[in-house]
């Protein structure tokens, strides 16, 4: 397959604050092949958005970044000056969570699409306008010729997100990062938007990183899914493997929080006990240990390294779920009624 399109190696992102250093991303590694779709799943504060912003060079100046990011042969963190001008927005681009706020309220929709075309491709006004109308049509905006002259507040949330997508696709990027693109829109619109993104991606042979906190969104669309927790990548696998045979206890817990069609109705969904990890000066231990039903003394001593089969199914856990080691750990904890971190667990929970 040759070199992957995107390689992220040992990515660290820290934000110095008055309360201490926020370790937002802690040694993340992943690759993305051309035309693939990678899902990055995690809860708020897991580092998924910061990872995306690092790729897009959108971090505030105070952020301390370390690691290597290579995209189509370019070192993303040190793009040559003359190539910088037409790098982001042309080769890789991003769609944000909230279409209500990601469009400039005082500029016409059309202008927000054409400004990229005019700047990056040097199109004249008329050409850019024609292209903008075409783009709006491609993303399924009805009456595109009318919409280009409308202001964002005149459109519904779903339409706005389509305009944002058109905006992002204007210069035909080879990688699109979508940061929770459907979180802020109506549930009924979500699926349509995701299908639209997926279709556009396939038509254009574009790679995509889909960031979401909803595993259900990633399923059926992403080739691979990476799960992040506490600034680390805790598991990464082809989507179906992840759903069928998850290894990391956090992934397993996440899967329990989504309703499944093959379960009887009224099956109780299980929330994940405890709170998200502290990111300011975290302890040298597995960040999930305080909430983990499998936690053992060794989880508190060191941070589990990423293991498993490299490039296939990687996970960072000493006592992975659905393995013998994991079962032993869980049985021991169930017998004790609590884990090494003091988390109370009950025998009936989660053992099928």
């Amino acid at each position: 397959m040759g070199d992957p399109q995107l390689t992220v190696e040992d990515l660290y992102v820290r934000f110095p604050t008055s309360r201490g250093t926020v370790e937002a991303v802690n040694g993340v590694n992943f690759t993305l092949e051309k035309g693939q779709m990678l899902g990055i799943v995690g809860e708020s504060g897991s580092g998924k958005s910061v990872t995306a912003k690092t790729l897009m060079n959108l971090l505030p100046r105070t952020a301390e970044v370390d690691g290597n990011i290579t995209f189509e042969g370019d070192d993303v963190r040190a793009v040559a000056k003359e190539r910088r001008k037409h790098f982001w927005g042309v080769k890789m681009t991003m769609v944000f969570q909230d279409p209500m706020t990601s469009l400039n309220p005082v500029k016409r929709c059309g202008e927000q699409i054409t400004e990229t075309l005019r700047y990056h491709l040097g199109d004249d006004k008329a050409t850019a306008r024609k292209k903008a109308i075409d783009l709006l049509e491609q993303v399924g905006v009805p009456e595109p010729a009318k919409r280009v002259d409308q202001y964002p507040h005149e459109l519904s949330g779903g339409l706005r997100q389509r305009v944002v997508i058109a905006m992002a696709l204007a210069c035909e990027p080879s990688l699109l990062i979508a940061d929770e693109p459907t979180t802020a829109v109506d549930v009924t619109v979500q699926k349509r938007l995701l299908d639209l993104l997926d279709g556009l991606r396939r038509d254009r042979g574009m790679s995509m990183i889909l960031i979401t906190h909803d595993l259900g969104v990633a399923r059926g669309r992403c080739d691979d899914v990476a799960v992040m927790y506490g600034g680390r990548l805790v598991e990464r696998a082809p989507t179906e493997t992840l759903f069928a045979d998850s290894r990391h206890p956090y992934t397993e817990a996440l899967l329990r929080t989504i309703p499944r069609i093959d379960q009887p109705s009224h099956t109780r969904l299980e929330p994940i006990a405890g709170r998200p990890p502290e990111l300011i000066d975290p302890a040298e231990e597995c960040a999930f240990a305080p909430r983990c039903r499998y936690a053992q003394p060794d989880c508190l001593g060191t941070i589990p390294p990423v293991g498993g089969v490299r490039g296939q199914h990687e996970f960072a856990c000493f006592h992975p779920a659905n393995t013998e080691r994991g079962r032993q750990a869980l049985d021991a904890n169930l017998a004790a009624g609590q884990t090494v971190t003091g988390l109370q667990i009950q025998a009936n929970a989660g053992v099928n």
């Binding site: 037409h86 944000f96 990229t116 700047y119 944002v164």
Partner: protein, 335 residues
């Protein structure tokens, strides 16, 4: 639009009625124009006592052929001061409607003529001051928000607070001393010879006024811009690869102008008649100094005429500021 204008006209009328009513009342309660017209005798109970037969009308102070009270009485009638305040107010109001602002008690010149002579100078000063203020504040505000926390931002913050804390008269005197007296770079006083000399001689006072307002504008714009720069659409524009300059000027600036133009409207109104200290320092015969003189001398018609002009200016300018809001933000247009 027609309704919008109609509402504004009604508002203007209400503002003018209340402002002039208050001004009229205050002037009449606090001062007596007769004192300045005929002398101090008018202020005391002298004539009341003469009328009551308690003393004789002596032939001393002004004209020895007629009694003082006779003269005071004549003056009262001439200037319409023998009528009750309310009646005089409505007479004055009636005259205003026909375009007659009255005549000065002091100079006997029509008030409209005095205003026509003084107001343009003050307006010119105000316009120049605002141009300087905006020309300084917008680029500096944009740059300091763009490089917030860096050296340039810190330096401009210090400069802004300096300009905000130094009173106009002190700053004016320093500037006058340095640029006009010690080094004769610019004229020290107003030169009415031609439009060129007018502009030239107003550069210093307009700069003093303008920099003071510029400091306020810069602070407001910087704060609003910093808020706007947190918005998703700014991140989106960056993700689209637009240049920093494009993002600052084409995306962030316009939605960040609201506080600035609000204060712009208010300060423009205040500057029409409010730059009297600067007018004094730089010897500009403007409306500000005229009002002060008129108030001190209880020259009611001049004071009231100026009040009408300034209040009208205030309302008209803020009407345009409201129009600016709708231009700045299409969402305002819809509502």
């Amino acid at each position: 639009m027609a309704r919008f204008i109609a509402r504004r006209v009604v508002q203007l009328i209400l503002v003018l009625l209340s402002v002039t009513f208050i001004a009229f009342g205050a002037l009449n309660f606090l001062g007596d124009p007769l004192v300045n017209i005929v002398g101090p005798l008018a202020a005391i109970d002298y004539c009341d006592e003469v009328e009551a037969g308690l003393r004789e009308d002596s032939y001393t102070s002004i004209n020895n052929s007629r009694g003082d009270c006779e003269i005071i009485g004549e003056a009262k009638a001439d200037f319409g001061l023998d009528k009750p305040v309310i009646q005089r107010y409505f007479t004055w109001l009636g005259n205003i409607i026909t375009g007659d602002l009255g005549t000065s008690f002091q100079t006997q010149l029509p008030v409209s003529e005095i205003i026509a002579q003084k107001l343009p100078k003050s307006l010119m000063l105000m316009v120049m001051a605002q141009i300087i203020a905006l020309a300084v504040a917008i680029p500096v505000g944009v740059y300091s928000a763009y490089r917030a926390g860096r050296a340039v931002d810190r330096a401009t913050s210090v400069a802004s607070f300096g300009l905000l804390s130094i009173p106009n008269f002190a700053f004016g005197v320093i500037v006058l001393q340095f640029f006009a007296l010690r080094n004769q770079w610019l004229p020290a006083s107003f030169d009415d010879t031609s439009i060129g000399t007018r502009i030239h001689s107003l550069i210093l006072p307009a700069t003093v006024l303008g920099l003071g307002i510029a400091a306020t504008y810069q602070r407001l714009l910087r704060t609003d811009l910093l808020t706007t720069l947190q918005e998703d659409f700014v991140h989106m524009a960056r993700a689209k690869g637009m240049t920093d300059r494009h993002i600052m000027t084409r995306h962030a600036l316009r939605p960040s102008l609201f506080s600035l133009i609000t204060v712009f409207g208010v300060s423009t109104g205040a500057l029409i008649g409010g730059s009297l200290v600067i007018e004094g320092i730089f010897s500009i015969p403007g409306i500000g100094s005229e009002i002060v003189t008129a108030v001190v001398r209880d020259d009611f018609p001049v004071v009231l005429g100026s009040v009408v002009v300034i209040a009208t200016g205030f309302v008209v300018i803020n009407f345009f500021v409201d129009l600016l809001y709708t231009w700045l933000d299409p969402r305002v247009r819809a509502s």
